[in-house]
Every structure is written in C-alpha cells, then in structure tokens.
C-alpha cells in the first residue's frame, strides 16, 4: 500500500502548515495515530463500559434508551452482553495489532529509513482530501466481501474508497506487493549495469560467486553494520573497494576497515575523510605497512605529521591527489621515514612535489623498489635524473607532463635497466629509436613493458627491439597509440612510425609464448597480412587472456576468428572501431567488446558454444 502511494503520483496542494510540519519532521499521521491510541487505551482501561458500548452499535443504544425502567435480571443480562462485546473487540484489536506490528517492522526494514518520511507525507496528503472514515470500533460492511466487521485503525481502504475487512485487506496487500516487485528494477537500467560490468571485465557467464553476492549485500546494508568481525584481510580489502566504488566510504563507515591487527589500510576513495579521520586511521592501525589512499584531497600536513609520529612500519605508500601536503612536509617525510619505504605511488599532484622532492626521495629511500609517478605536474628532467640514481628500483612507471628529452630517458634506462622488471613510459613524446635501442641493450629481466602514446619512434626501432632480445618473453605488452598522426597524410610516411607490421610480428615471435596481456590499440599501421600471419590458427599463444586491438582498422572477421583459434585462454577481446568485423559468433567464456553493429549489444558474450562450433557457424554465415 505504501508503494502505491509513493512514486510519481500526483498530489493535491498542501497547506503551509503541512509543509512546515513535514519540514520539521513532525508527522501529522503520527500525531493522529498517537491520539487514536491514547483514546483507545482510555476506552479499554475503563472509563466505563457505557462509553465503549456506545460505539458497539447504534441499535443497542436505542434499545438502552427505550428500556429505561427494566428489571434487575434484564440489567444484569445486558451488562454481561456488553462486557462480552467489549472483550471481543479488545481481543480482536490486540490480535490485529500484533500481526500488523510485525508486518510494519518488516516493511520498514525493507524500505530503509529514508522512505518512511515520504510515506507519512503522502498518507497525510491523501488523508486530507478524504471523507472521514468511520471511527475505530464501529461496524462496517467490507467493500469486497460485504461481510460485517469491526473497523480498526488498521483497516485498509479498498479500490472504491470503502473499507475492507482484515482478510480482504491482507489479500490486497499481498497483490500489491507482488505487483510492485517487477516495477522496482526497470529492465533498461539492469541491462546497462550488466553492459557496464562486462566492459569493466568482471562479468562472465553463469552465476556470480557467493562471495560476490554477499559482499554486494553487505555494501547495500552498510548503514546497519557495526563491525566486520574477524574477516580475513582480502575480504576486507574487497569490501573497501566496493564501498569506494559506491562512494560510501565516509567517516561513519571508515571504522569498519580499521583493526589494530591489520597491516594494510586500503581506501581507494578517501575523498570524504578529513584530518581527524586520517588521524583515526593512524591511531587505530599503527602497524600499517601498506597504505592506499585514493582521492586523498583532504590529507594535510597535520595528518602526515601524525602518521610520521605513529606509524613506523610503513613500507608501501600509495596516494592519489594529496594536494594539500606541502613540499616541506614531503621532504620531512622522506627524510624521516624513507629508510623503510619500498613502494611509492603518487598521482595527480599539482600544487607541490617538485624536482627537489624527488631528489630527497632518491637520497633517503635506499630500499625503494617500486616507483610510480603519474601526472605530477611540477616534476621534469631533473626528477628523472634523480630516479636514475635509485639503486634497487625494480618497477618503474612514469608519466610526466613536461617535455623530457630522449637523452635523459636513455640515461635512465642505461642506469636502471638491468634490474628492472617493469618499465612503463607513458606519453614520452620525444622518446625515439635510441630509447628502444637502450631498452634492447640494457633490460634483460623485464616482464612488463609499456611504451605508449608516442609518435617519434619508428617501426624499424620496434622491430630491432624485439629481434634477438636477450630479455625472456614478456607477459604484459602495451604499445597503444604508437603511430603517426598527420591529417594531411593519413596513411603515414613511407617509413612507418610506431608499431607496424614487422614490429608486431617480431613482438609476437619474441613474447607470444608467455604473453598474457596485449594492447596494440590505435597501432593503425599494422597491415591485415601481419594479423593473419600472427593469428593463423596454427600458432598458439597459450597464455594470452586480454587483447585490445581497437582502432586497428585493418582487422577483419578472419582475424577475430584466427584469434579465437590461436588463443585458448582468451577471456576478453576489445575491438572498438574495427569496422571490418561483422557476423562474429563468439565462443564460450569469451567477451568480445566494441564490435560496431548498431542493432546488437556493444558487447557479445559467448554462451555454450566452443571455438570449433563457433568458427563453423561463422563460415556458414560467410558462405
């Protein structure tokens, strides 16, 4: 019944008083209910049976009036009858009260506390324009079954506006509930959600795991949870991820993720947290080794100083956008706590963090193994030179907005290359073939290489890099966006810029046996013949799970079919902007994303067909 009233129903005008009361959280419905209850209680507690009897029935009243002079026996009999009637009403009310009380509670739980107010408001609005209903205790005829019944404050209103007996009222409530359920989730939103999950890469066929379902339920009821108990750390982490994603990580829910015995605090969205909350983190979890604070926009020097004071074991520090922390504080932090740091990952620093700070970090963090600096606006070539002196660096990811000359990068790779496992250089526009050559000569332990968004290095350079490279096969390669961009010459220069056919073939020859993740999106100079040669069905790439070949415009349906055949572990193939791909039948457990067919979903997901059958069907379609 509440569901029917809330929602987009049109309501009559409300008086200023009603608005005022609603705004102050005073509900007229509640006042009325209280009044009714008091009145009922008074009746029951014996303001005299005569009062109650008056309501039992008008007929009886008349009788009483006419038979004033009556015998003692008659009087007694009448009194007895009266009492019986009163008792009956009482019992009925009590029973109904109990039943209703339960139902109401359940409902509240379901709807959450927010809905209650509007429920009252709506009820109030409807109440004002209605005929006064019979007072509780009177008899009425049910609108549906025409049975005579006692009106109670809980009697429901029927479809025609009359009152319903308890039984019919219950039926009606049931019907409404059933009718309400499907309306709750519009199909469109559900489909969009699913689509978005697929694009995020975590929707596969079949049911979700029970853990996933539970975690989502926990997130839904985040307001009611007081603590998580002895949850294992990975689950706490997963929960914090979901809380972050739904933007529910607030000072109120923060304590859920803080436990003195934990060694990691991972909060991917700390935007709602203020200095006091940060202090709370460091006070409750002083042994923290891994600290991740995403969107740490309210992190200030004061909180950093407190962290310095409390947490002496911090080894892994990851922060995004802590822009209120000053240069002096960064210096002080690295000087005092740098000795233990093994990981530093910082992103989106605009206001502070200069070349000098990086220099201090290089001097005071001798044990640093993992360094990621992305979108830190104030650092430049000097910072890169400082990084080149860090002795134990194994994983290095850089994206620097200022121009960095090729020599500086060559120097960096020369100094650090032989120890590196990860090298990620994003958007170094001036890096040329000399950088690739240095990587070829000095990096022999890499497993992950990213060299993206560059329009300087040539196809010949990449080919040389991947030919007879002493480095073992890579497991992660991202060379997206390496191509020539010139509107006047869309096909690119004679000597291809970026990864083109020969470089791609060399890359797959070198790393194909171990490659898990391949991103060659926007490498638009790779020819169709190269794709067909690489994914010919005979060659197998046993580990390859993710491929992104968006905007490789030469890719066509045969290439996609070849990929299905050549990559037995494939999970996800992203192919936005590959306009020659059409009529693909997707095998089981593979998600194909982005193939442009306006009438289809943007992503296609294989169900129940294995590779051979899918290829068979594709050939039928093609023939």
């Amino acid at each position: 019944m509440t569901g029917r009233r809330s929602g987009n129903r049109i309501r009559g005008p409300q008086s200023a008083l009603t608005d005022f009361l609603a705004a102050n959280n005073i509900s007229a419905a509640q006042i009325r209910d209280d009044y009714e209850r008091r009145r009922r209680d008074a009746e029951v507690n014996g303001e005299g049976p005569s009062n109650a009897a008056a309501e039992v029935g008008a007929a009886e009243e008349e009788e009483v009036a006419s038979e004033q002079p009556e015998s003692e026996a008659n009087k007694k009999k009448r009194k007895r009858e009266e009492r019986k009637a009163i008792d009956e009403i009482k019992n009925k009310k009590q029973a109904e009260k109990k039943g209703k009380g339960k139902a109401k509670k359940k409902q509240k739980k379901k709807h959450g506390s927010d809905d209650d107010d509007s429920e009252y408001e709506n009820e109030l609005g409807n109440e004002m324009y209605k005929k006064a209903r019979p007072a509780p205790g009177q008899f009425e005829h049910c609108e549906i079954c025409s049975k005579r019944f006692t009106v109670t404050p809980y009697s429901k209103t029927g479809p025609e506006g009359g009152l319903l007996c308890t039984l019919c009222g219950k039926e009606l409530a049931k019907d409404e509930k059933a009718a309400k359920k499907p309306a709750n989730k519009p199909a469109g939103r559900k489909r969009r959600k699913l689509e978005s999950d697929r694009l995020d890469g975590f929707a596969v066929g079949g049911a979700k795991s029970l853990q996933q379902i539970c975690i989502e339920t926990v997130a839904k009821y985040h307001d009611d949870i007081e603590e998580l108990g002895d949850m294992p750390a990975p689950i706490v982490e997963r929960l914090s991820e979901i809380f972050s994603k739904k933007r529910m990580l607030k000072p109120k829910t923060l304590p859920l993720f803080l436990r003195p015995d934990l060694e990691e605090v991972i909060l991917h969205d700390a935007a709602y947290l203020e200095v006091e909350d940060y202090k709370q983190i460091f006070a409750v979890v002083p042994n923290v080794r891994t600290l991740v604070l995403g969107n740490a926009c309210q992190m200030k020097d004061e909180a950093m100083a407190y962290m310095l004071d409390k947490c002496h074991n911090l080894q892994h520090l990851q922060m995004y956008a802590p822009n209120l922390v000053t240069n002096a504080m960064w210096q002080r932090y690295f000087e005092a706590a740098g000795g233990k740091l093994q990981t530093v990952k910082l992103k989106w620093l605009d206001a502070a963090f200069e070349d000098d700070t990086v220099q201090t970090m290089a001097t005071h963090c001798p044990d640093l193994r993992r360094l990621k600096l992305k979108l830190c606006r104030r650092i430049g070539e000097q910072a890169v030179n400082a990084i080149a002196t860090m002795p134990r660096l194994e994983h290095l990811s850089l994206q620097i907005g200022r121009d960095i000359s090729a020599e500086i990068i060559v120097n960096l790779v020369k100094q650090r290359g032989d120890n590196l496992r990860t090298l990620s250089l994003e958007k170094f526009l001036d890096a040329d073939d000399t950088v690739l050559e240095t990587i070829h000569d000095h990096c022999h332990r890499l497993s992950k290489l990213r060299f993206s968004e560059n329009d300087t290095a040539s196809n010949a350079g990449y080919t040389k890099l991947f030919t007879e490279w002493k480095n073992p096969p890579l497991s992660f390669v991202d060379v997206n966006g390496t191509r020539d961009v010139d509107n006047n010459n869309p096909d690119g220069p004679e000597e291809a810029i970026g990864v083109s056919s020969s470089a791609f073939k060399a890359l797959m020859k070198h790393s194909g046996s171990n490659l898990k993740h391949l991103d060659i999106s926007s490498c638009r100079h790779i020819e169709l013949s190269a794709f067909i040669d690489v994914f010919n069905g005979a060659e197998s790439y046993p580990m390859l799970e993710h491929i992104n070949l968006s905007f490789c415009s030469r890719v066509d349906t045969t290439v996609v079919a070849g990929i299905f055949k050549s990559c037995p572990s494939l999970k996800k193939l992203v192919a936005f902007g590959c306009f020659d791909v059409a009529d693909v039948v997707v095998p089981r457990n593979i998600a194909l994303i982005g193939v442009p067919r306006a009438q289809d979903a943007i992503e296609q997901f294989g169900v129940g067909i294995d590779v051979d059958e899918a290829l068979g069907r594709m050939i039928e379609v093609g023939a």
Partner: protein, 100 residues
C-alpha cells in the same frame, strides 16, 4: 564405506544435515577437494562433510546457492540470489572458507 554416490551429506555445526547432489556441492573448491577420492580424506570415504564453523542456517543458504549456481551455469544475465541482510556477514565468511 560407499563408492562415489550421486549425493553427499553436509552437516552443520549444530547438527543439521543436508543431502545435496555431488555435482552441486563440488562447485565449492574446498568441498571438491574434501571429496576427491584420490586425496584420501575421510570425507571422501563417507561422502559426508562436517563443518564445525558453519551453522545450519548458513549452510542451508550455501546449499541453496549450490543449486542456484548449477541451475544458471550456462545462462547469462543471471538474477542475483536473495541473501538476507542478517545472514550476509556469516555467509560471506562461509563462502570464503568454502571458496565459492
């Protein structure tokens, strides 16, 4: 000592037992290993798993999930199973333990 039967028994800490299809129970990696005869656990001989840390209410829900999962194995756009709020933390612990 029974050979591999089609059904296995799961017993909760408070003594409720649930007889479920072997194929469904084996959705849980932990139970699958318990029941694998080649690993020789006592559970695989009696076809019975006893869970001292999972109570009847939670185990019932777990069994419900097994069948829900099996039913939707090959379909997509699966509707989510309903999990009562008061059970979800305990259920989460159980799910983590059973690896489902």
């Amino acid at each position: 000592m029974s050979a591999e039967s089609d059904y296995v028994t799961l017993i909760s800490s408070d003594g409720y037992s649930f007889v479920v299809q072997r194929s469904s129970a084996c959705i849980s990696a932990a139970i699958r290993r318990m029941l694998d005869p080649s690993l020789g656990f006592a559970e695989s001989k009696t076809n019975t798993c006893r869970f001292e840390n999972i109570n009847g209410l939670v185990l019932e829900k777990v069994c419900e999930y097994f069948y829900y999962n099996e039913k939707h194995k090959n379909s997509k756009d699966v509707p989510d199973m309903d999990v009562p709020a008061e059970l979800c933390l305990e259920l989460l612990m159980a799910a983590d333990y059973l690896n489902v």
